[in-house]
Symmetry: C2
Subunit: 415 residues, 2 copies
C-alpha cells in the first residue's frame, strides 16, 4: 500500500514525504511529550530540551493550550538570580479519554482511562473463550457501551477505543490474523466490526504490545530505548519498542521471543518445534511439569499453589521453580545478546515468585549473556502489573488522536 513494508507501527510518519504538516506534527509531539515527561516546566526550558526555538515553542504551546492538551497551572517560582518566573505547564489528563478493551483468554476487561492512564471505570467479564467471533464483538460492544454510559466521562472527549488481543494482529488495519488462545479470531477485521457499532475510532493491537506501550509510557520502562517487554503467562509474549516505535516485522510477529529455540533437543512445543523458550519457561510449561510430580499441589496445579509450596520449603516445587528461573534466564540472556536493549521489563504473575527466583534469573543471565550488553541492560519487574495493558491502550489512542493530520480532525477539545 505504502510501498515500503510496514515495519514500525507508525511508519506513516517516517516514510511519508516531508511536508510542513509533518514538520509541525513532529515538533508538536515533541513539545507535548517533553511537558508530559518532565512536568512543572516552562516554555523556555522546553525549548532548551527539545532544541526547538523559543519562538516556535511559544507558538506550539499556545496551540496546545488552546486545544486543551496542556494547562498553564501555575505562574510562580522564579529561577536563579531573579528574572521573570516561567509559566509552568502541565499535561492535561482530561484532554482526552480512551476506552481500552483487553480480550484475554482468562477474562475480558473494559476500562476508561484519562490521559495519565488513570482508570475512571472498569468492568471485568469472564473470558469469551468458546464464543464465535460475532458473539465476541457483541460482548465487547456491549461492554464498551456500558462503559461510555456509566463512566461519566464526556463522550465528546473520548478519543477512541484500543483493543488488546492475544495473537497475531495487523495493527495498521486493525485485523486479527490469528490467535492460538482464541481460535475463532482468524482474519477478523475486529476494528471495523466494532468501530461501526460504537461510532469511535478503534485500534487493535497484540496484548503484549499494549503491555509494552504501557510500560514504556507509564511504567518502570519510562523513556528507555530499546525496551523489551516480556510477559509470561500460559505462553510467553514479548515485544521490542525502539525510540517510540513498535518493531512490527514484515508480518506482525517481530519481537516475539516465545518460539525461540533455546534447546534444540528440548520438549515439543505447541508450535511443532522443539525446545522453544515458551515450552520450557512459560506458566503452561511449569504446570505441565508439575502434573508429573508426586505432591498434594501437583494434582491440579496452579502457579500460586506452586509458589506457596516453594514458600513452605517444598523441595520439588523449589527445584521446579529453580529450573524455570534458569530457563527464563537463558532466554533473557539471548534477548540481551540479540537486541542489546537498555531495559527488559518482566511481566506476569511468575515474577512475584520472590527474591530467590529473581536471583536465579539474574545469575543465569549474568553467567550466560555477553558481559557488555548485560551490564547495559536493566532487568526489572513490572510495577504496573495488570494495569500495563490498559495504560498501553491509552497510549495508542492518544497517539492516534495527536498524530492524525490536523486538518482531518475537527478538534474536539475546548473549541
Amino acid at each position: 500500500m505504502t510501498g515500503t513494508n510496514g515495519v514500525f507501527m507508525d511508519d506513516r510518519q517516517v516514510s511519508k514525504v516531508g511536508s510542513k504538516a509533518l514538520l509541525k506534527r513532529m515538533n508538536r509531539m515533541r513539545v507535548l511529550n517533553t511537558v508530559r515527561e518532565r512536568a512543572h516546566i516552562g516554555r523556555a526550558e522546553v525549548a532548551d530540551i527539545t532544541g526547538i526555538s523559543r519562538a516556535s515553542v511559544t507558538y506550539l504551546v499556545g496551540e496546545l493550550v488552546k486545544d486543551g492538551w496542556l494547562i498553564e497551572y501555575d505562574k510562580g517560582e522564579t529561577t536563579q538570580a531573579g528574572g521573570r518566573p516561567p509559566i509552568l505547564l502541565q499535561f492535561n489528563p482530561d484532554a482526552m479519554y480512551a476506552v481500552v478493551v483487553m480480550i484475554g483468554s482468562e477474562r475480558t476487561t473494559v476500562a476508561v482511562g484519562d490521559g495519565n492512564a488513570h482508570m475512571r471505570y472498569r468492568e471485568t467479564q469472564p473470558s469469551v473463550l468458546g464464543r464465535s467471533a460475532d458473539e465476541v464483538v457483541d460482548v465487547v460492544v456491549d461492554m464498551i457501551g456500558r462503559a461510555l454510559d456509566t463512566s461519566g466521562v464526556d463522550r465528546q472527549r473520548v478519543g477512541g477505543v484500543a483493543i488488546g488481543v492475544p495473537g497475531l494482529v495487523d495493527a495498521h488495519n486493525s485485523i486479527v490474523h490469528y490467535s492460538a488462545r482464541l481460535p475463532v479470531m482468524r482474519d477478523i477485521d475486529l476494528g471495523s466490526m466494532i468501530a461501526t457499532r460504537v461510532g469511535l475510532p478503534v485500534m487493535v493491537e497484540n496484548e503484549t504490545r499494549l503491555i509494552g506501550w504501557g510500560e514504556l509510557k507509564f511504567g518502570s520502562g519510562r523513556g528507555y530505548s530499546p525496551l523489551v517487554c516480556v510477559s509470561v503467562t500460559l505462553g510467553i509474549g514479548s515485544c521490542i519498542i525502539l525510540e517510540d516505535r513498535m518493531l512490527s516485522g514484515s508480518s506482525y510477529s517481530a519481537g516475539q521471543f516465545g518460539h525461540m529455540t533455546i534447546d534444540e533437543h528440548g520438549p515439543l512445543c505447541e508450535c511443532g518445534n522443539r525446545g522453544c523458550w515458551e515450552a520450557l519457561a512459560s506458566s503452561a510449561a511449569v504446570l505441565q511439569r508439575a502434573r508429573g510430580l508426586d505432591a498434594a499441589w501437583a494434582a491440579e496445579p496452579t502457579i500460586p499453589a506452586i509458589l506457596d509450596a516453594v514458600k513452605n520449603g517444598d523441595r520439588q516445587a523449589g527445584k521446579l521453580m529453580h529450573e524455570t528461573a534458569v530457563h527464563l534466564g537463558i532466554g533473557l540472556a539471548n534477548i540481551i545478546n540479540i537486541v542489546n536493549p537498555s531495559i527488559i521489563v518482566l511481566h506476569g504473575k511468575m515474577f512475584e515468585a520472590g527474591d530467590a527466583f529473581l536471583q536465579t534469573i539474574r545469575q543465569t543471565v549474568s553467567s550466560r549473556a555477553l558481559k557488555l550488553p548485560a551490564l547495559n541492560t536493566r532487568l526489572i519487574v513490572s510495577e504496573l502489573g495488570e494495569q500495563a495493558g490498559l495504560a498501553g491502550g491509552v497510549t495508542l489512542v492518544m497517539r492516534s488522536v495527536l498524530e492524525s493530520p490536523l486538518e482531518q480532525r475537527a478538534n474536539p477539545f475546548y473549541v
Copy 2:
C-alpha cells in the same frame, strides 16, 4: 550526548528537531534514492512515486543535477499517447568516490569505489594480526595513501573513508571497543587516528554491518526491510537493517545472533556460554569437529577441503556438513521467529557448499520456524560475496556526505 540512546546509526536525523533543513534533506534523499533505485526516470514519475509535488521535485532535481549527483542522460522516449517526453535522470556514479578498508583477521583490503560501488582500485595485504594498534594504523594509512595516489580518482571527489573491523564498534564516534579477532583493538579511536593522518572524514563500522549495508543497497537484498544479514566465517556475524537504519542497540551489539543459545546443553563457546549458535554452526565449529574425525582431510582441515570431500561422496564429511546445515537452520528459524524479516541474506564461503546443504537449511527452517513469518521471509545467498563489505563502505560514505548539513559542507562537486 544527544539525550536519547543512539539506537539507529542515523538517529541524529530522526531525533533531531524538525527544521526546514531536515525537511529538505529528507526530500532530497528521497528524490536521489528514487532515481538511484529506478533509473531511467523523469521528474514527473519521481514526483508520483515519492508523493512530493512536481514543483518541489523540479527544484530538488535541479539542485542535485547542479551538484553533480544526478545527470540528465537522455531526452528521449515519449510515453503513452504523445506528450512531451520526460528528461531521463540517472544517478551519477562519478559524483563521489569512497575509500573502503576492510581490516579482517585473514587479510587487509583497501579499495576505491564509485557511487555505484564499482571498484576502481584494490589492494590486499596480509592480515594485521599480531601487530599493535599503532602499527595497524600505519599499515592502513599507508594503504589509503597508496590508493589515493594510484587509483587515479580526483582526490577532491573522495567523500571519505569507511573502515570495517570485526568486533564491537561505536559507529557514531568511530571507536572500536572490542574485537575478539584483533585483541589490540580495545577502545581505540580508530576514526580520529586515521582521519588526522589522511585528511578525510573517516567512518568505522563493524565488518558484518558493512556487509549488510552492501547487500541492502547493491546486493540481493536491495530494498528489502527488515533485512537480516548473516555472515558465517570463523564466527557468525549478523546485523539487522530496518528502513534504512542499522539496528545498533544500547551498546552497539544489537542484531548479533552469533551468541544466541540454541542448545542450552551444547558445547562451550569462546564467550563462556554453552550452545551458542556460533559454537555449533560457524566455520570454526566445523573445523573443530573435523579435527576429531579420522580422515585424510581431517588432519589439517579447511572448509574448501571439507566441501571437496563432500563432493567426492565422503560419508563423514557429508554428515558433518549436514549437521552444520541443521544448526544453521535452527538459528535462522530463530531469526525468522524473532525478527520477522522480509529477507535474510546469507554470506560466507560455507554457503557455496552446494544445493544439498542449502536444501537441508531450508528444510530445517521450514520445519522449525513459525509458518507465517517463514513464508514471508526470503532466504537467499549473497551474490556480492567478498564485494559486499566494500559496497557497504561506499554506502556509508555516501550517506555521510549526503546527510551532512548542507551549510557545513562546502560542496566539492561541480561547483
